[in-house]
Symmetry: C2
Amino acid sequence: MSDERIRLGHGSGGRLTHELIEGLFLPKLDNPVLRELADAAVVGLGDHRFAFTTDAHVVSPLEFPGGDIGRLAVNGTINDVAVSGARPVALSAAFILEEGLEIALLERVATSVADAAREAGVPVVTGDTKVVERGSADGMFITTTGVGVFDPGRSLCGDPIVSGDRILVSGPVGDHGVTIMAQRGGIRLEGDLRSDTAPVHDLVRDLLQASDGVKRLRDPTRGGVATVLCEIAAGAGRAVRIVEETVPVRPPVRAACDILGLDPLYVACEGRVVAVVSEREAPVARAALSRHPLGEGAAEIGEVREGPAGRVTARTRIGGERIVDMLSGDQLPRIC
Amino acid sequence: MSDERIRLGHGSGGRLTHELIEGLFLPKLDNPVLRELADAAVVGLGDHRFAFTTDAHVVSPLEFPGGDIGRLAVNGTINDVAVSGARPVALSAAFILEEGLEIALLERVATSVADAAREAGVPVVTGDTKVVERGSADGMFITTTGVGVFDPGRSLCGDPIVSGDRILVSGPVGDHGVTIMAQRGGIRLEGDLRSDTAPVHDLVRDLLQASDGVKRLRDPTRGGVATVLCEIAAGAGRAVRIVEETVPVRPPVRAACDILGLDPLYVACEGRVVAVVSEREAPVARAALSRHPLGEGAAEIGEVREGPAGRVTARTRIGGERIVDMLSGDQLPRIC
């Protein structure tokens, strides 16, 4: 791809991002830990293992209903650590600021970073600040990195994903992405649209303590639930089938998606978890999710099946069957 | 400072950066680890401690004699871990790409990241890629984060800094910063100007194994040796005096500094270490530095003295005495 240029879609989290990672980064940087391409890497450290994850946040606008880039950055990194099964213990935050940025805005964002870290109980222990000339960045970017530890007695079960495993989602999907898109387009919509940004580490802790049948957890951000399911199916060498009407979507989110021409399955969540759970444990796991405030509205949305590796299908509301592909193209840039 | 705006100097690593960190970030994010403001945070993890550090890299131009943003990012983070006394074990890399960036350039930089990581023996185990619209970034930014472990038998000695301690530098200063400034200005200079970007973790290991008198190590990047000495003096509650003619500066670097109007003491190094060593151990430490290829040209440049906390002075070549203040103002933006 040497004669080509970077497109917005390379950052969408969907197919072009995968092509960039698998075609360009992986062959060069190849090592066993990176090759896993998990939300967090798991690194051995003497007798211990720790989880390690990083995310650059470039969301536009910087402030939006329900949060801002600071809160999003802290929660996003906590969530990437949490879905690996680890307990987040420390964060770093590196700011790239554009010359001319209002310091009052930076103060609000720094307050959000501090508040989110305090609420989650995960301190920001190190950081960096760089400034670039006016026009060389868009206000502010924040890269957060997190470290987590694996506590005994609460972890992913380690069994392979097999046919019959259930797919759970911890609550309604699409709130974050549609809030950003509506805000960016200056579209005023009826109803309460706000980002669902939240730290899911306590929810994950409760889930893993309640059930030993949780095989995989994912954080459906860029690319949404659809892209995460495609990745899960491909990784497991199996197919996934979901039932569209069981996927929880709040009415204002559905209405906004209709207006904006978006499929909620592809719209980013920032406080949700997708879980693959054994058939036997699915009711226990769903109940555990529902008991936590962030798991209100948890639902079973589908199951793993034999079939072509990586194929995801959805039974539609009118009873048909459609292919759910990975997000492709340039939709939804700068959603996180 | 709420009615103000961010200036380039807020990212210089000098006085304005300190004001931003101490006036805005610290009061909000305050916690005991962050308050240390070390190159790397030291975090407890069960019975273990680990070092954790992050740096956003925004160097312009992206490629320069002796390296590029990828090599700089990997080495910079390894060095921040190393000067805490820890052994770097894992890195993350988060890329922010501008739409329209040539993929061939990204490939060269990714190759540099991979080469630098392999040469240093520290793998990049996790990463992220985001893309922003044309004009919303300047080509490419890379934020690297590193984790290190503290090995028994090689650490900073922990004694307080006292009068008589010696200041060592591991080699000639200013090569990186002056190379970037010359390249950016399109200035063709006589002689061999190239960045000194290099990973100093093996040099630090050798130093700490050879001497138990090493009290403090710093990485003189943004703000150069002068700013690091001001920080050391302030932290120790003492004064520092250096002898200008003992500070090693390669002739082409000195010539370029003269032309560009720069003081080499303020120009960033990316492969050097400043060490505070007990008077007794200074010869051993200097010899240990000199035995390593990256320590060629190591020199003792001054000492700690009683005096106002944070005051750094230099005996000039003509025998006078001048104050060496922290870098202030907007000089040398986007040097790393």
